[in-house]
Amino acid sequence: MDFSSNNQVQNPLFQKMEQVRRRQGKVRDTHITLAHGSGGKAMHDLINDIFVSNFDNPILSQLEDQASFNLASLLQQGDRLAFTTDSYVVDPLFFPGSDIGELAVNGTVNDLAVSGAKPLYLTCSVILEEGLPVEILRRVAASMKAAAKKASIQIVTGDTKVVHRGAADKLFINTAGIGIIPRGINISAHNIKPGDAVIVNGELGNHGAAILIARGELALETNIESDCQPLHSLVETILHACPQVHAMRDATRGGLATVLNEFALSSDVGIRLYEESIPVREEVNGVCEILGLDPLYLANEGKLVVVVSKENADKILSAMKSHPAGKDACIIGEVITSPPGIVLLQTVFGAERIVDMLVGDQLPRIC
């Protein structure tokens, strides 16, 4: 048989073979193997079957090594680019109310949104541990698809790596995001001024408590769910009501306390919180009591801290309350001149105490 001639292409058998070769591959393995990260056919099939099919959009389907955008259309939406990246290594991968996939999309969407940017494009880079059930990856990708749709954002490029069993914990995701900041928006932790009001959009600590319970080490049963949600639409509502927001940040790891300490240090102001105004679910408080933790330091994945001038506070509060992601919004404190760089909490008994930066992780007490 002469393989070098055109005969092989004209031969019906080879034509069928060629059709099969070009057919979009399906992942038939039940578990991830090193071959899925080797750069060969198995990886090609994995990318097509799991990522391209879920994240379907014109930029991604080009399957170039990069995503390219039309600058002119970006410029029409604003005058500055917002660019961010984050890695997601949560354990367990699935937990009440959300999973690592939704988290990876919403986390980066929210990091963009709190600058006032309209989130546009995401990257998705995954590190898979050899032996991970393919079904888990499918569920995570489907979850990312749903989250991207909800956030009106496109996942336009990505990367897949497989590491030896034990070199990673099941599945890590990195997402980077690009958004456009509209003209006239200037949100920064350096803008905060004495007299400003501090607002949050709802209950704090639900995500952190849900993860603690989901790890199954505590033998506790609760119905606490993660608050994982995209915040871009809420931010849009806020900025529509009042573009003059001074500072805004999503309170993720380190919780409310960390965000406010960063704010206080950046603008060299003090912040006074009112304990009775800070919304925390009874169950979250209960978990904290048992473990000796403070809900102010628990992680959130759908909570926003907004600092605005006193004059604009009511306007922004009522705009937030009109949005589903902000219906429980409330003012929890005020910015003060002194002591600079310090966050204080006025307790329900009228006393004041410091809410400091967290040192290391919160560690459960023994009694």
């Binding site: 080490e217 505590l218 009775e276 009874e282 169950e283 408080n285 209960g286 009591e289 473990l291 000796g292 403070d294 002591p339 310090i342 204080l344 307790t347 329900v348 008994f349 009228g350 006393a351 004041e352 105490r353 410091i354 400091d356 040192v359 290391g360 560690l363 459960p364 007490r365 023994i366 009694c367």
Partner: protein, 394 residues
């Protein structure tokens, strides 16, 4: 939480505060009250209780933080055990950051030791069941509060004949520590807020010596803000009426004679050591527990070779004086500068239940601190050159 919230009602707190203020007018002199338990110290700072009390009442934050009082040498021993090949070392979370002479369990884990955080000693027994080819060691520490659960775990391990499990026992006893404090001539206390969790196990009878031999009142207290305020009010009543008794504010939990089942388990599994070294307080006779010879196979001190060295506290550290109420945290030269929660030098800065850590974390700007510093102008939160204070330089 509804049950808990009832003990945090601001109106009731204000009512008790007013009663306390009224009683204060009847006092002949300002008083010093020690809360023995670190859990109380934590609550006092978390809710700002000290801030709302009249100036005549000074709270002294006692030695009742089980993590803080662990001496460096014992930490070194724990780290040495954890570094044994084939050992899984299980510990409560808040012991992870306590400094030994050179390092912490957290750092030892980062350097490769298999150290796992557990929420109960029974979790460590499960690790032993799951890893029959490993030796699992539980870092048993705490006052009488946690001793029963470790005793029950050893009894369970014995019943199941689990041979790859042992405990590094560092349980300490509250009564000998109180006695050592009361015997100290520096101490000037007028009464005690007694530890609620410990008393749940031992009852209130063991404190009778405080009122009878030392003529000090003690009120065993719960941990909610109203519990603590009510206990202070009860103490004041005793002082005003010139009474000196053991009273039980926490009677919804604490029985006079304690928990018989828990005490039996402790007595079955543990024996009292002749002496135990306390960080900040030194050796206190009969103040620690060790595993009975009958359960020697579960005693990590016999199973592993440990350094077993006594390591002195840092010279610059004034924890001993702070625990006795002779000095306030900010009167220690290294407080808040060389000694912080990130780089603790002394016992009181180690866990958030320690007096220095609580002041640093919650109250370094408190009116109490400002007021006391104003009264003693020579004392400042230091900006002076600091003495050398690396952990290994003792």
């Amino acid at each position: 939480m509804k049950y808990v919230d009832e003990f945090r009602e601001p109106e009731k707190a204000e009512a008790i505060r007013r009663e306390i203020a009224k009683l204060c007018h009847q006092l002949e002199k300002p008083i010093k009250i020690m809360e023995v338990c670190g859990g109380h110290t934590h609550s006092i700072f978390k809710y700002g209780i000290e801030e709302i009390l009249p100036e005549a009442i000074e709270l002294i934050h006692g030695p009742g933080c089980p993590v803080c009082v662990m001496p460096k040498g014992r930490l070194d021993d724990a780290i040495a055990i954890s570094q044994n090949h084939n050992v899984i070392f299980a510990t409560f979370g808040d012991a992870m950051r306590v400094p030994g002479s050179n390092t912490t369990l957290l750092q030892a884990r980062a350097q490769g030791a298999d150290i796992r955080m557990v929420y109960s000693p029974l979790d460590s027994l499960q690790i032993a069941r799951d890893n029959p080819d490993k030796q699992v060691v539980f870092f048993a520490l705490g006052f009488e509060t946690t001793a029963p659960s470790t005793a029950f775990t050893i009894l369970q391990a014995a019943a199941e004949e689990i041979h790859n499990f042992s405990m590094f026992c560092n349980h300490v006893l509250v009564v000998p520590a109180l006695k050592a404090l009361l015997d100290n001539p520096d101490l000037q206390l007028d009464g005690f807020v007694g530890p609620g969790h410990v008393s749940m196990v031992i009852g209130t009878d063991p404190y009778e010596f405080i009122s009878q031999q030392y003529n000090k009142p003690i009120v065993v207290s719960g941990f909610e803000p109203l519990d603590i305020l009510q206990s202070i009010w009860m103490l004041l009543q005793q002082l005003v009426e010139n009474r000196c008794e053991v009273e039980n504010q926490y009677n919804r939990i604490v029985q006079k004679s304690g928990n018989t089942v828990a005490l039996q388990a402790i007595n079955k599994v543990f024996a009292v050591r002749d002496s135990f070294d306390w960080r900040g307080l030194g050796d206190i006779p009969y103040s620690g527990l060790q595993i009975q010879p009958e359960y020697a196979q579960f005693d990590a001190e016999l199973k592993f070779t440990i350094p077993n060295l006594k390591v002195a506290d840092h010279k610059a550290c004034k924890c001993g004086e702070i625990l006795k109420g002779v000095l306030k945290p900010w009167e220690c030269k290294v407080f808040g500068t060389a000694c912080t929660p990130e780089t603790p030098i002394g016992t009181c800065m180690v866990s958030s239940e320690g007096a220095c850590a609580a002041y640093y974390k919650y109250g370094r700007l408190s009116t109490i601190a400002k007021r006391t510093i104003a009264q003693k102008p020579k004392l400042t939160i230091t900006q002076e050159p600091l003495p050398a204070c690396g952990f290994s330089s003792d």
